[in-house]
């Protein structure tokens, strides 16, 4: 029996964690993800979970302790945002390259400077090459659902990679919305017991983790890691299918909203997709064939599937909530355009950097984006493909 509730995104993730009852949770506070360990600490204090909660002295240590716990054979996770994610940049690579299943609940926030506590994706996009699987949420329900699915993906024997589940700071993490929760037992059964193959605390067979590897072996290790990321594609879909059967909520690499017959499409990640859907609803009433591709899985990057979904559009705006300062646009723009190029798509494409440091995105803003796409499709001239939206002056 599903339970209807009203929760913030942080509460939703914390409740999912209570239902999962993980083994080890090291954490360090940082806005706006602080509430996740805070809610969880109250579950620990009241005996609602068995978890060993470690209030460490930094984010570098929270990820390092999660690595130690995972290597030891435990189901481990941590949570962070922004500077915290940047500070744990080094151990992110260690978790992934040591092939350690664990979960990192990211609440997206701008990186300094100027120091800013509001949403953009510069933190997790900065970690896009760390070897973590990345799942993004549009709203609280998706943040909860991604959390429930994360350990299954991470621990799968063909994957064995850490997973980052991301939600938008404040917009999703602090806004209270209606949400449907699974029963505790449903989550417990879905996630299952963690049965590691080799682990430090196996008295019958000691193991060693984190070797020095010279040139003879390093590249093979990296190739194997790349293979695991490839395998993750099938596993993400398998887990989503099973989750869909259980919950009635279906997930894939991305959500297509009126994309099938769309002439003008927006590609984006996160909460602004909700606003864009409202814009599309209005435009559709006016007969404008507008559509949206909302990406859920950024790592592994579903390039072929994205290109296939965009094959009939005339013009596309790829919206990045992070700049990569390449003088070409943001990371999503670069990767989607590359996917389109490999499929020989002829659609015009522009890359728009938006919403940095929590800058608001309105239905009208997105209406202007679609109007611009219509103009580009008509004239066949994309103009500057690296643009900013919502900048004053």
């Amino acid at each position: 029996m599903a339970k209807r509730e009203r929760l913030s995104g942080n509460e939703a993730v914390a409740i999912a964690l209570k239902q999962i009852n993980p083994d080890v949770f090291p954490a360090f506070p940082i806005t706006p993800s602080t509430e996740i360990p805070q809610y969880f600490a109250s579950f620990v204090a009241n005996g609602l979970v068995d978890t060993e909660f470690i209030p460490v002295e930094s984010e570098h240590s929270s990820m390092s302790a999660a690595i130690g716990a995972s290597a030891a054979g435990a189901r481990a996770l941590t949570a962070t945002s922004s500077a915290g994610l940047a500070y744990m940049w080094e151990p992110l690579y260690l978790a992934a390259s040591n092939r350690l299943p664990l979960v990192l609940a990211v609440v997206n926030r701008a990186l300094s400077g100027p120091i800013n506590i509001n949403c953009d994706h510069s933190d997790s996009m900065g970690a896009r090459d760390s070897g973590f699987i990345q799942l993004y949420a549009e709203n609280n329900q998706e943040a909860y659902d991604n959390m429930v699915q994360a350990f299954r993906i991470s621990e799968h024997k063909d994957v064995q990679l850490p997973v980052m589940i991301c939600q938008d700071g404040f917009i999703t993490s602090h806004a209270v919305e209606n949400i449907t929760l699974l029963e505790d037992k449903e989550v417990k059964d879905f996630v299952g017991e963690y049965e590691p193959e080799n682990y430090l605390l196996n008295p019958a067979c000691p193991t060693a983790v984190g070797p020095y590897s010279v040139t003879d072996y390093y590249m093979e290790a990296k190739r194997a890691q790349a293979e695991a990321m490839k395998n993750a594609k099938d596993v993400i879909l398998e887990v989503a299918k099973e989750f869909g059967d259980l919950s009635g909520r279906n997930y894939g690499f991305f959500e297509s909203y009126h994309l099938e017959d769309a002439e003008y499409a927006v590609v984006m990640i996160g909460s602004a997709a909700g606003t864009t859907k409202d814009t599309i609803d209005q435009l559709r009433k006016q007969g404008v064939k507008a559509g949206l591709l909302k990406l859920r899985v950024f790592r592994p990057f579903p390039a072929e599937e994205i290109a296939e979904a965009l094959k009939n559009v005339k013009a596309v705006a790829i919206m990045d909530r992070a700049d990569s300062f390449s003088n070409q646009g943001g990371p999503l723009g670069a990767e989607v355009m590359s996917a389109m190029y490999r499929k020989h798509l002829q659609a015009e494409a522009i890359n728009i950097v938006y919403g940095l440091g929590g800058r608001d995105v309105t239905v009208e803003d997105m209406g202007e984006v679609f109007a611009e796409l219509a103009r580009i499709a008509k004239t066949g001239e994309a103009g500057d493909t690296y643009r900013f939206m919502g900048v004053r002056g």
Binding site: D23, H60, L201, P203, Y212
Partner: protein, 310 residues
């Protein structure tokens, strides 16, 4: 109390065939600290990046008979915190039997302990994580080629404090890390080195490993490459460090200081310095005052320690 013979008869948990330098002090420390673990107990060794890590676990070979994890340079204690938490959970859930006991021992050089690993160390100590941190203090970043650390003694010639026409080596005194750890109010902290028949090292290791909660063991481990002494003379060097009171042998149990060895006649520190190439410049006639300064610092620290022990 385990007898010296029992300690020595225990099989090595760090196997030969690793790639540490001949005569390396760090290896002697690791091998002998691990002799203090009861044969029926298991160990998870955590290792900060450094000489020991790159030389003992070069894929696909490991010299460690127990489970072992190397994570990074600065996070050995945080990593151990995670392992220890996993252990508590598995015990609680009955995933490990009552007689399946693990001990958690972390090895780090002075760079990974006094400097870059200090935050992680301090955090784990304050949380009273049930582990033993063993610092093999050879007084410089030896793995990267003898750069100064905050454990490097004053006037030592290192590659980042080279002796030159305007330099007499490292200008600053060394950090007194053992005392800083004592101030964390942990159940057990001690200093030792390779001295006489090693019984001091064995006893302190056993106490550290079998004290519930956080323990810190600071072991002076000479490095033939960095200190530039005649390699076979390691035991003489250690003895001189102790007899000159450069490296006092003491322990602090629940805040109570105790000298575990007091020299009958304190030797002048130059007897320790003269055997090492890194202090060669101090023995030029014009540098006599530098040895005097060095002696004053040793005396000051020794007197402070005596006050706390009495």
């Amino acid at each position: 109390m385990t007898s010296l013979k029992e300690f020595m008869d225990r099989p090595d948990r760090l196997a030969p065939g690793h790639r540490m330098c001949a005569g390396c002090g760090a290896t002697i420390a690791a091998r002998n600290v691990l002799k203090a673990v009861k044969p029926e107990d298991h160990v998870v060794v955590t290792n900060a990046t450094g000489c020991m890590e790159v030389s003992t676990f070069m894929y696909p070979y490991t010299a460690w008979q127990d489970s072992y994890i190397h994570n990074a340079f600065e996070n050995a204690s945080a990593t151990t915190s995670g392992v220890e938490a996993a252990y508590k959970l598995m015990k609680k859930k009955g995933k490990l039997k009552e007689d399946e006991n693990f001990k958690f021992i972390t090895f780090g050089g002075d760079g990974g302990t006094y400097d870059i690993g200090f935050q992680s160390l301090s955090g784990a100590m304050e949380r009273n994580c049930d582990y033993t941190y063993v610092c093999y203090d050879n007084g410089a970043y030896m793995n990267t080629g003898i750069q100064r650390s905050s454990a490097t003694p004053m006037y030592a010639d290192t590659t980042t404090t080279p002796v030159g026409s305007k330099s007499n080596g490292k200008p600053q005194n060394r950090k007194d890390l053992t005392n800083i750890l004592v101030e964390h109010d942990i159940p057990y902290a001690a200093q030792t080195t390779f001295f006489k028949n090693f019984s001091d090292l064995y006893k302190k290791s056993e106490k550290a490993i079998y004290t519930k909660g956080a323990s810190f063991l600071n072991i002076m481990t000479p490095c033939p490459r960095g200190w530039r002494y005649n390699t076979p003379e390691i035991m003489d060097i250690c003895e001189l460090a102790v007899e000159t009171c450069y490296w006092p042998m003491y322990e602090v149990e629940n805040g109570v200081f105790r000298l575990t060895y007091e020299p009958k006649k304190k030797l002048p520190v130059e007897e320790f310095l003269v055997k090492q190439g890194r202090f060669k410049h101090l023995f030029k006639p014009e540098n006599e005052h530098l040895i005097e300064e060095f002696q004053m610092e040793v005396d000051r620290r020794w007197e402070n320690l005596l006050k706390r022990c009495r």
